[in-house]
């Protein structure tokens, strides 16, 4: 009796394991091979699936309207557009589907963070053969496009509009404080921030000049370091935060301003507004901060929220001894590519090409979403209806020193968390030796990257 019971269990266990193994093995296998056919002459009806991460219904509709031109141009291709409900899990879910052999033909993602992994693990196909065939040149985009669409020599994605970051400043507050132009250097930023700050009688902050804390409207230590020309990695790809002097200078600047406010006062202020970033109560829109680092989309949000703020925009200041950095900054946005195993890669390429370069499409989407148009032609189009303050972000995007941050690695961008969490501790005053701390950050980043790459 017992033996039969055992046999039964063994059988079911074997079945279960076999099923699990089959799943794992399926993960290793791809679908069709993706070499471009010499011409895409066949006009046989075909349906291609597109996954995108826009969740707001107006954005979804905006995208569908913007691709109308593609439908007209390629009437034999039917688009099956699938909006993915959660943009934060979009890439993880896409990777699972590529591994399971059920990817869409075209992916559109908000996450350049994953492009390194997409390239290193061949999750997206290299578009180069298609680009060569169609004489598709990368110089129709700003040079910064390469920093988040290509990795290890593989062009696995193309940009579809981008974000660019800069400084927003409140003109009325500037006039009141007698400041005539936005700060161009980090010491001007510090002086202006102090001048523009208004305190309550109990010492708490009523209006902050500039909040230098992590993720107050997207800023991080790497953005400060950029002002000093700082980079995460040296020429050999090793983290050099502990040895590149830009980092210590940037973090010292940041702490000086935090200390001037008083850590407790500035964190109370931070806590009041940081979670309002995506609401009409956002601190800059409501006149609670005089200057803030933010993305180009804030121009559209200010308009949509009908915020009563008289504002200007400018590139983020550069360090006093690094004037060459002025005008550049962090950029990077939506990308599109063809997953490995796509059923119709040739038709998928037609759509990827359209999404990344059609001026009509990019202008229509940029007008709707308020993001930076990525091609030179679309940025110069007369059909673009964006507020005058928007020009700063187009310029930042086109600046040759701009780039995506944190830089792509084969294992994603999680390593930046190590630096960010060190920065949180540093500004709170819990780090006694900055240099030793930054060196430790290098070690921890190197280990984390090694853990991701494996033996």
């Amino acid at each position: 009796m017992k033996r039969r019971l055992l046999l039964y269990f063994a059988l079911v266990a074997a079945l279960a394991l076999a099923a699990s193994l089959a799943l794992v093995l399926a993960a290793g296998c791809g679908g069709k091979k993706s070499t471009p056919t010499s011409t895409s002459g066949s006009h046989a009806p075909v349906t291609i699936t597109v996954w995108h991460p826009w969740t707001v219904s107006s954005e979804k509709k905006g995208f569908e309207n913007a691709v109308a031109g593609f439908r007209q141009q390629y009437p034999w291709i039917t688009l099956k557009i699938v909006p993915y409900p959660n943009s934060d899990e979009f890439d993880t879910n896409l990777i699972k589907n590529i591994n399971a052999g059920t990817p869409p033909d075209v992916m559109i993602s908000f996450g350049p963070d994953y492009v390194g992994k997409y390239a290193a693990d061949n999750l997206l196909i290299d578009l180069k053969p298609y680009m060569d065939r169609d004489s598709f040149a990368m110089d129709q985009f700003a040079p910064a496009a390469l920093s988040y669409t290509a990795f290890q020599g593989k062009q696995v994605a193309l940009p579809v509009l981008t974000d660019a970051y800069g400084l927003y400043y409140n003109k009325d507050m500037f006039a009141k404080a007698g400041i005539s132009s936005p700060p161009k250097t980090m010491s001007e930023l510090m002086t202006d921030a102090k001048k523009l700050t208004v305190r309550n009688s109990d010492g708490s902050i009523a209006v902050a000049g500039f909040v230098p804390l992590l993720d107050f409207n997207e800023i991080g230590p790497a953005d400060f370091a950029h002002a000093w020309g700082g980079t995460y990695f040296d020429a050999n790809g090793q983290p050099h935060i502990g040895t590149d002097p830009a980092w210590a200078s940037a973090l010292t600047w940041q702490k000086q301003l935090v200390d001037w406010y008083g850590y407790s006062a500035i964190t109370d202020f931070y806590g009041t507004y940081v979670d309002k970033e995506w609401t009409s109560q956002q601190a800059f829109e409501t006149g609670k901060v005089a200057m803030c680092w933010d993305g180009e989309w804030r121009t559209a949000m200010i308009a949509n929220d009908k915020a009563n703020v008289n504002y200007g925009t400018a590139p983020f200041p550069a360090a006093d001894d690094h004037p060459e950095m002025y005008g550049s900054g962090r950029v990077g946005g939506t990308i599109t590519g063809i997953p490995r195993g796509a059923q119709h890669p040739d038709e998928a390429w037609l759509l990827v090409k359209y999404l990344s370069t059609s001026t009509d499409f990019l202008v229509s989407l940029a007008n709707g979403l308020g993001n930076v148009p990525t091609t030179k032609a679309s940025a110069a189009s007369s059909a673009l209806h964006l507020v005058p303050q928007f020009q700063t972000f187009i310029d930042v995007w086109n600046n040759p020193k701009s780039g995506f941050s944190p830089p792509l690695t084969a294992t994603g961008s999680g390593y930046a968390d190590i630096l960010n969490s060190f920065d949180e501790k540093w500004v709170s005053g819990k780090v006694s030796d900055l240099q030793a701390g930054l060196t430790q950050v290098d070690t921890d980043i190197a280990n984390q990257l090694a853990l991701g790459t494996g033996p």
């Binding site: 039964y8 279960a16 699972k96 806590g271 940081v274 969490s421």
Partner: protein, 318 residues
């Protein structure tokens, strides 16, 4: 003849059980064994797993030499996550037990409106955890939240920064946890109402005080309930996730950045999740999961073994 019918009976039992057995093997035991295997490999979901022996465990505990890393390489946040998790267990579980017990005892008192009180106390535990966490982030906002408005009215009190202060972020989660303790209250209430009246009558005749009644009758009689809530609380504590994830995200206004402020909310489950699904270190995350499993099992077994000494089963269950 008898043997055959017994065998058939077994067959039928197994047949009836097979939906569960197959489900358990395919969706619980299978993945568990697979994750045990992965814990000894480098696996990132995209390429096939490579055997690396104990390297994941070495990295976790910072012992020995790991290929491709400098000597002494270790996970910088592993022990932070362990400490945070032990903190929430050490403070959260006893507080929950105490709070639920005392509230339940109070709820046995009123003569009128008992059901209303019970409903009121139970209601919070029906609120979805996500919604509750979001509400608490609002309530506990350091400057605009109503809680701090009240606290600031007290002279000499500087209201804490709650989710923005690493010293107060975990206590904020405790407050959230105690608010939703209704499910435990119901269990304690049932336990308290089950204590035989004769025992109280007997001890009252002996002239016992209220404390003696509690100490010698109530407490021993509800030890099974305490034991149950203790075990469930500890298991939940080891897997602490939702509230910290939601509250952390909502307070920082950022998605997918876990553990803020200053990693004070980086619990074991959150760090494991981050390793697996943000960094794609599936091998390492599997190793973390196994250590968590072993720790939870050990605690449960220790509690089970020692329970014989202090848990009193009135029904005489041996």
């Amino acid at each position: 003849m008898r043997r055959r019918s017994a065998r058939r009976k077994y067959g039928i039992v197994l047949l009836m059980l097979s939906p569960w057995i197959i489900g358990f093997l395919a969706f619980t035991l299978g993945p568990m064994l697979l994750s045990l295997f992965w814990s000894f490999t480098h696996y990132d979901m995209s390429s096939s797993a490579t055997w690396i022996g104990l390297d994941n465990y070495k990295f976790m505990f910072g012992i020995g030499h790991i290929k491709g890393m400098a000597t002494g390489a270790h996970d910088p946040y592993y022990w932070t996550s362990v400490r945070n998790t032990l903190w929430i267990i050490a403070f959260g579980v006893p507080l929950r037990v105490l709070f639920a017990m005392v509230t339940a005892m109070l709820l046995t008192r009123p003569k009128r409106g008992v059901n209303t009180y019970r409903t009121l106390f139970f209601m919070p535990s029906m609120a979805p955890r996500v919604a509750a966490a979001l509400v608490f982030v609002f309530l506990l906002n350091p400057t605009t939240g109503p809680v701090n408005h009240l606290l600031n009215l007290i002279p000499g009190v500087h209201a804490p920064g709650w989710f923005y202060d690493p010293r107060w972020s975990k206590p904020a989660l405790l407050v959230l946890g105690l608010w939703g303790v209704g499910d435990a209250i119901v269990i304690y209430l049932a336990g308290l109402l089950n204590v035989p009246r004769e025992l109280y009558e007997a001890i009252s005749i002996e002239g016992a005080s209220a404390w003696q009644r509690f100490r010698n009758v109530t407490l021993p009689m509800i030890t099974p309930v305490i034991f149950f809530t203790l075990i469930m609380g500890i298991i939940d504590g080891f897997q602490y996730f939702d509230q910290a994830y939601i509250a952390g995200n909502a307070a920082s206004g950022q998605n997918a950045v876990l553990g803020r402020p200053q990693n004070s909310l980086l619990f074991y489950g959150l760090w494991l999740y981050q390793q697996a699904f943000r960094f794609f270190h599936l091998g390492y995350a599997s190793a973390m999961a196994w250590v968590l499993f072993i720790a939870t099992m050990t605690c449960t077994v220790v509690l089970l073994v020692t329970s014989k000494r202090w848990v009193h089963y009135g029904g005489g269950f041996q």
